[in-house]
Amino acid sequence: MNDMRPMERKVDTKEIKFDCRNVQVYYGDTQAIKNVDVKLEDRTVTAFIGPSGCGKSTFLRCLNRMNDTIDICRVEGNLLLDGEDIYDRRVDPVQLRAKVGMVFQKPNPFPKSIYDNIAYGPRIHGLARNKADLDDIVEKSLRRGAIWDEVKDRLDSPGTGLSGGQQQRLCIARAVATEPEVLLMDEPCSALDPIATAQVEELIDELRENFSVVIVTHSMQQAARVSQKTAFFHLGSLVEFGETGAIFTNPKDPRTESYITGRIG
């Protein structure tokens, strides 16, 4: 585990992507995250579950420093991405976010055409050398987002005109277009109907081949369906972390058991 750089490896050899040690997060004087230690693997879907307000979204937003936009938020501890502390002074949050993409709870396509929505990231990061290159990236991303067939004939129409499920897949495609190493998803299906949810879940499973995916969800079934690892948060602490199958069939902590059987939360 000394070599932390992403290299050609077999899928079953799991690298540690994120190594989080002793993370504390404060909003002003309130502590939202207490002493979280977790190792997130590459090319794995990790689900964060837990009752509302348990800190799972806050922790997710620490992983790409989205909490920087909140003035009163303070993060302590070490968060290492490929062995490098992302809260180090030398790290530019803008570049970090290009490596650690994010999909939000509510689909938030930009008020631009579908094409421009996807091309947004590649353009600001200079990923395309010319127009043809950009076209390729857009097509590839839309295919990865499993929405290419639905929108290929109307790339110029506004992204906001799509249905909710299509918008969310567009947002995933948009996040994928910048070639991130990790994809963070904050309850990506909570605003979607069951059909769109199924499409997005299928997509998450495909994304696992290339990315490390971290997903926050309120649906235990969803966590069980899409993730390989599950972390259960309760009142700001990481209660239990392990193989999804183990968490759901044989939880070690009584709180985890209460939550997944519906007694708390």
């Binding site: 970090l96 290009a98 993409g101 999909v103 930009f110 008020p111 947004y120 600001i124 948009r174």
Partner: protein
């Protein structure tokens, strides 16, 4: 009885009706509020509304109709022989009204007795003298027919007022009594109040709309009158603006193009100042400034909007003009002849417009959902990239609206132009020359002592109409742009 007292008495009747109506409804329910259909106060309001509304409507209608009726009757009394050749019926009627008013005031002052004022055989010369003694303005000679008419006018007037008082008060009492009779437990007083509120709101809205229609109609008719006296093609395509104030038309050249050009030029300069500064300060305030800076800076910026335009005019005339002159004038670059110029007025007007652009744009930028910014930051965009490529496009319809609002203000602005840009109507490309605008010329055309029937005065209406059509077109354009982008962005 003065109108004011009638209104007060009607209000008192309404107040009594409120109390009585409420009490009666309560009594009919045996004092149990739950047995009533509506809350007790609604029964009170039912009585108050039925006392006030019909009485007030009657007073309004009466006040409009009575003078018209009295004038037509009295005017009919004046035979053609009573009207001097050099005069007209309208002038004689004005004289009659003046005499009647004089008599009223003289009686009130105790100089003339009520009997003398009404006496058909009153001596004309004596009355004239007494009126003059009482300090009333009358022409030197009141003729017998005029005095008769004035006397009749007074009598009809006071009878009419008396009848109105009685009718209005009776109507108020009747309305209150009727409503009080209605107020039983099962009566739906709440619905009555609800309907009245709706009617009140509808009438408020229609007054605004009717006033607009009235203004437009007065503009249209006076403009048509102007075009009867002065050819429309000369007005719209004329390149010279030189009204003559001595003669009656003929020698005047009233071409609108120099004025339109001045309006356009000054507005463009003003917007060139206001739009970038306003927009940038809005972006700073909404995206970069800390809440404390924002709380101080935004109200301070909005203070600019509260400064009267005449003060801006003074600023243009006394500060900006000389300043520009010292740089671009004869001592400097030599482009500018005097302090009053397009540039002077445009710069100052631009400063005036900054808060319009910034305040509105700031609200609109704040209204862009945070999720848009998060989405952009989540893709690794910097702050300015996010603003340029996500926030501003999303806010564009509103910003365009703000800019067009500022443009309408610029086109309609008068005082800064009068003081800052000079009064010369000129077609020139040099922004350091004096020019003038449509609004400034409307002022100068109407503040002279030109006859209102002359084309020199009537041209003001044509100018006003042109301005109205221009700003209307601008507003329609703004609506169209906003709607077009809204379709795209929602």
């Amino acid at each position: 009885m003065p109108i004011f007292w009638i209104l007060l008495i009607v209000l008192a009747i309404a107040a009594i009706g409120y109390v009585a109506g409420r009490a009666r409804a309560l009594a009919s329910a045996g004092g149990d509020i739950r047995a009533l259909h509506s809350l007790p106060s609604y029964y009170g309001w039912n009585a108050a509304i039925k006392a006030m509304v019909p009485a007030f409507l009657l007073i309004i209608v009466w006040l409009i109709v009575q003078p018209i009726y009295v004038s037509s009757v009295v005017s009919g009394m004046l035979s053609d022989g009573a009207i001097p050749n050099s005069s007209s019926r309208g002038l004689v009627m004005a004289e009659v009204r003046r005499v009647a008013e004089g008599l009223d005031n003289a009686v009130a002052a105790g100089v003339i007795g009520e009997d003398a004022a009404r006496s058909a055989r009153a001596d004309v010369i004596d009355i004239t003298q007494r009126l003059k003694d009482a300090g009333q303005i009358v022409t030197s000679q009141i003729t017998q027919p005029v005095l008769r008419a004035a006397q009749h006018f007074r009598i009809m007037h006071s009878t009419g007022n008396m009848m109105m008082t009685v009718a209005a008060l009776a109507l108020a009492v009747l309305g209150a009594l009727w409503a009080i009779r209605e107020n039983r437990a099962e009566f739906r007083a709440r619905n009555i109040v609800e309907t009245s509120v709706r009617i009140l709101l509808i009438s408020a809205a229609s007054i605004a709309i009717l006033t607009t229609i009235g203004i437009v109609l007065s503009l249209v008719f006076n403009t048509l009158e102007f075009f009867r006296l002065y050819p429309a093609s000369d007005f719209f395509f004329g390149l010279t603006w030189s009204p003559s104030f001595s003669g009656r038309g003929g020698s005047s050249q009233l071409g609108v193009l120099p004025l339109l050009w001045g309006t356009f030029y000054i507005s463009v300069v003003a917007l060139a100042v206001a739009v970038p500064i306003g927009l940038f300060s809005a972006i700073y305030l909404s995206e970069y400034a800390s809440p404390r800076v924002r709380a101080i800076a935004k109200p301070m910026l909005e203070v600019l909007a509260g400064i009267p335009t005449i003060v801006y005019g003074l600023f243009a005339l006394l500060t900006v003009g000389p300043l520009l002159l010292s740089v671009f004038g004869a001592d400097g670059l030599g482009w500018m002849k005097a302090g009053t110029a397009v540039m002077t007025a445009g710069l100052v007007m631009g400063v005036m417009l900054i808060p319009f652009v910034s305040s509105l744009s700031d609200d609109i930028i704040n209204a862009v959902p945070q999720s848009m910014r998060d989405g952009s930051y989540g893709l690794g965009a910097t702050k300015s990239e996010t603003i340029r490529q996500v926030v501003l496009p999303a806010a564009l319809p509103g910003i365009v609206g703000a800019i067009l609002l500022a443009a309408s203000r610029a086109i309609g602005e008068t005082m800064i132009v009068v003081l800052g840009a000079g009064a010369a109507a000129r077609l020139s490309l040099n922004p350091f020359e004096a020019m003038t605008t449509v609004t400034a010329k409307i002022v100068s055309q109407l503040t002279g002592d030109a006859d209102f029937a002359s084309p020199e005065a009537l041209v003001a209406f044509a100018l006003g109409m042109t301005l109205f059509v221009l700003t209307l077109g601008l507003n329609i354009l703004a609506l169209y742009i906003v709607r077009k982008y809204r379709e795209q962005y929602e």
